[in-house]
C-alpha cells in the first residue's frame, strides 16, 4: 500500500476493482482534487453529480454518500472523510471558463480540463465523456436565497477522503492548478493517492 504523490497541476488515473478503496490525501492542506468516476465496463455510465445530489437530497458529499452514475448505479461510496463536506456542483476549471471568470489573459494558463483530457485519453475518456465532477476538499456553500459562494477550504494538511468501489471503476483525478481564486489557497500543492 504505497502512496503515489501527484504533484500540483498533474493528474492520475486509477483502475479500481470492486471492493478496493482509494484514499486521496491533502498533503499540505487547502488543495482541490477534481475527480471523475467511470464504470470501467461502460464509460457512458459515468459519475453524475446531479443524480447523486438529487437521490440523496443533499448538495454536499461526505461519509456515506453514494456516488451514482447516469444510470443510477452506485459506482463508489465515500467510506471515510476527515473534512466533513465536499463540493460537486462547482465544476472543474478549464482554460475557456477561466477566460469567462478572470479574463483573456488566463487563456493559456494550465487548467483541470487539460489534465482530465491527457490522463483520460489512453482509456477512451475524451471531451464528450467529461462531465460535472467532484471537488474533494473544496467548500462551495449554496444559500437559501439561491446564491453560491466559494468559501475558505475546510481541509488542512493530512486530511483525507476514501472511496470504496462498488464495481470496477476508473477514477480520474486532476490535482487542480487554479491560481486565480482561493480554492488551492493561491498555492497549488501535491496530493497523495493510496489504493488498498
Amino acid at each position: 500500500m504505497t502512496m503515489t504523490t501527484v504533484p500540483s497541476g498533474d493528474g492520475h488515473l486509477a483502475l479500481l476493482p470492486a471492493g478496493a478503496t482509494l484514499r486521496i490525501t491533502d498533503l499540505e492542506g487547502n488543495q482541490a482534487a477534481d475527480t471523475l468516476l467511470y464504470d470501467a465496463a461502460d464509460l457512458d455510465n459515468r459519475y453524475s453529480a446531479v443524480d447523486t445530489v438529487r437521490e440523496q437530497a443533499a448538495a454536499y458529499l461526505t461519509t456515506g454518500s453514494a456516488l451514482l452514475s447516469t444510470d443510477l448505479d452506485v459506482l463508489a461510496t465515500i467510506t471515510a472523510d476527515t473534512v466533513g463536506r465536499h463540493d460537486t456542483l462547482g465544476g472543474a476549471c478549464s482554460q475557456e471558463s477561466n477566460v469567462i471568470r478572470y479574463g483573456l489573459h488566463t487563456r493559456h494558463q494550465h487548467a483541470c480540463r487539460e489534465t482530465f483530457l491527457r490522463w483520460g485519453a489512453p482509456v477512451g475518456i475524451g471531451a464528450r465523456q467529461l462531465t460535472h465532477n467532484i471537488n474533494f476538499f473544496m467548500n462551495v456553500p449554496l444559500t437559501e436565497d439561491g446564491g453560491l459562494t466559494f468559501a475558505d477550504g475546510l481541509s488542512g494538511p493530512g486530511q483525507y477522503v476514501e472511496l470504496t468501489a462498488a464495481r470496477e471503476v476508473y477514477v480520474l483525478i486532476s490535482n487542480c492548478p487554479q491560481l486565480n481564486n482561493p480554492c488551492n489557497g493561491w498555492n497549488p500543492t501535491p496530493i497523495g493517492v493510496t489504493v488498498s
Binding site: 437530497a57 448538495a59 447516469t70 456542483l89
Partner: protein
Amino acid sequence: MTTTKVEHEVPGGAAWSLRVRPGREVRFSALGPGANCSLLLLTPDGDRLNVPDTLKAQMSARITPPMVLMSDRGVGLASVTGSSLDWHDAVCGHSTDRHVTERSSYQEHRNDRRISARAGLLSELRKRGFDRADLHATVNLFSKAAIDDAGRLSHVPKHCAADDWVALRTEVELVLVMSTAPHPLDPSWKPAGVRVAVTDAPPDEASRLFRPESGRALDAAAQALA
C-alpha cells in the same frame, strides 16, 4: 411586429427538440400549474450547456434572468432575458425510469403511457446523432428545489402557475432538447404542457451588463465562429 418562426405545444410528459438560429427568442409558457421542462442545450458541433460553469461564473445556485447559460467550451449559448419566475432549478437532474414508478405500457395505455424525462431526452438526442455521452445537467424550467443551510434539497410544490413563462435569447446556433415530464423530486404525476414559441429576439443588454463574466461569455459567443 416580429413574426413567429415556430410555435408548438409540447404536451405534459412528452419530449421535443428543435434547432434554432442565433438571435432568436425562445419563449416557454406553462399551459397549466406545476409544469416542468427539463432542458438541454447543445450546438450542432457538440458543445453543451455546462450547469456548474454557468452557476459558478455567476455565483448563483439557480437559473434566473439575466444570467447567461454557458457551455463546456466557455461560450454563452443563450441569455435568460426574462421570466415571471425568479428560480429555475438546475441542480436536480431530470426524472429517470426509476422515478416513473407506476409502470405503464403502450399496450395498455397507448399514448397516455408515462415516459421519464431520461427516456424522452435520449430519444430526441439520438434522433439528432447525440447519445448517452451527451447527458449533462438539465435546467428544469418552472421548477424549484429549495436549499437549506445544511445543503438539504426539497421540491417546492406550486412554484409554477398556469401562464408562467421564461424567455431565452439564442446567442449561437442551438439544438434545444426538452422533456415535460415532472421534476424528479415531484412525487405526483400531473405534468402540464409547455408552449414553445420562437421569434426574432428584441435588443437587450441586461445579460451583457449583468456581470463581467456574463459579458465575457457573450464575447466568446460572438467569436465562436470566425
